[in-house]
């Protein structure tokens, strides 16, 4: 199976790799997937007082498509409001990266990671956690 140019680009030059200080109240961390399933994503966001995401970082254990999906997600998150970030749909990632059907789960995982990071931020700041629809894949 050949990878799309965009997957190769994100894999070769991943954007926003790293770690934010998860003890800060302004940082939300999402850790999704499982080692035994072959992919784990950790996605972190830093949110300012206007509910805008000023920074996003990721680390991913997984195939090229999983790495590319999370790298792309961090790119999209920066500068978005939390509400806008919540609206990111996995199919947008599928389209942007031209993921084949067997790799759709990578995009679902990235969407889960975004929502999970936002929830972590919300809970830390005294807001109720949101119901997440897509958790199983």
């Amino acid at each position: 199976m050949a990878y799309s140019d965009k997957v190769i680009d994100h894999y070769s030059n991943p954007r926003n790799v790293g770690t934010l200080d998860k003890s800060k109240a302004s940082v939300g961390t999402g850790l999704v997937g499982a080692p035994e399933c072959g992919d784990v994503m950790r996605l972190q966001i830093e949110v300012d007082e206007n509910q805008v995401i000023t920074d996003a970082k990721f680390k991913t254990f997984g195939c090229g498509s999983a790495i590319a999906s999370s790298s792309l997600a961090t790119e999209w998150l920066k500068g978005k409001s939390v509400d806008e970030a919540l609206a990111i749909d996995n199919m947008a990632i599928v389209e942007e990266l031209a993921l084949p059907p067997v790799k759709i789960h990578c995009s679902v995982l990235a969407e889960d990671a975004i929502k999970s990071a936002i929830n972590d931020y919300r809970v830390k700041n005294g807001l109720p956690a949101l119901e997440l629809a897509k958790t199983h894949h």
Partner: protein
Amino acid sequence: MLTLPIYLDNNATTPLDPRVLEAMLPYMTNMFGNAASRNHAFGWQAEEAVDYAREQIAALINCSPKEIIFTSGATESDNLAIKGVYEMYASKGNHVISVTTEHKAVLDTCKHIEKIGGKVTYLQVNSEGLIDLKELEEAITDKTILISIMYANNEVGVIQSVREISAIAKKHGILFFTDATQAVGKIPVDVEADGIDLMAFSAHKMYGPKGVGALYVRRKNPRVKVTAQMDGGGHERGMRSGTLNVPGIVGLGKAAEIAKQDMESDTARISAMRDRLEKELTTIEESYVNGSREHRLPHVSNISFKYVEGEGLMMGVKDLAVSSGSACTSASLEPSYVLKALGLSDDLAHSSLRFGLSRFTKDEEIDYAIGHVKEAVSKLRELSPLWEMFKEGIDLDSIEWAEH
């Protein structure tokens, strides 16, 4: 000169040896006869070539040329052996013993046997990939007609104790079939000394062409017969109908002859390269060799690089053609059942790469591979949240991972 990409997937298939190609070419052009045409020179020529190939193969595995049944490859040979014995010896029993780490061609054939009313016992292997001989003997019942255990495994290269297995089979009067696809032409295989009754192998794993293989069927002590799985002209002593693939068979014969002649020197060179590759790659922190290192084919190394996912790693070593036990490489999304049978956790199975060397592998290719893999593992670990946690001393088993 180094040409990229470098082929290190020789357990999947090997390149055709130029000497084999040369032997085959005339049988694709001028000497196109049907080996079954008994009444003209074209047929005689083809038949002679096939008979000569039989002799070349017989010399490699120490059997009589008459005991070689040509097939389309090892999958067909596996099917013919297991289904053929099951049908032929139905009056004696319906129980087959095999192993969980067999190739799919054997496992799925065994499943077929179960579907049509047979019973199959699948033996487990230990962490080295070897079966327990005591368990084998205990699995035998008065209905057991066949023991089907591979000679050497395709994923980890582990070589089973074939002589001990055949001794047990003989003691109980049970036939012993071995899928020797990975072993024939690579290590000495002697059907007499090894006590093998039926044996499957294939040309394209030993520098021959694709689409041709053979089933060895013993003719003496005991005389073994298999029921044909294809109806037709009654070729190959009635066990496998179909016009013989003369150029392919000539290629298999030549490949066998070269294997016999070059095995010792090839093995010395290849295993030295494999050992160097393995020694260097296991200097990487948290890397593990899978399967027995003692009872193993000389040209294979299967290594898990913990905290790095296999398919991601393969993408990182794009100048190397290797394979991975990772889920993502197959449509099933399940990691390698062979590695799991060896007791590897799913995450280690996901993190494995298989390196398969050949007689054409060069030292400088191994040098390149070592550097390339080291670099890719290190890059991916920088990206890996699991590596970061490991480095922070977090026990990954203590984390409640989301169901998937």
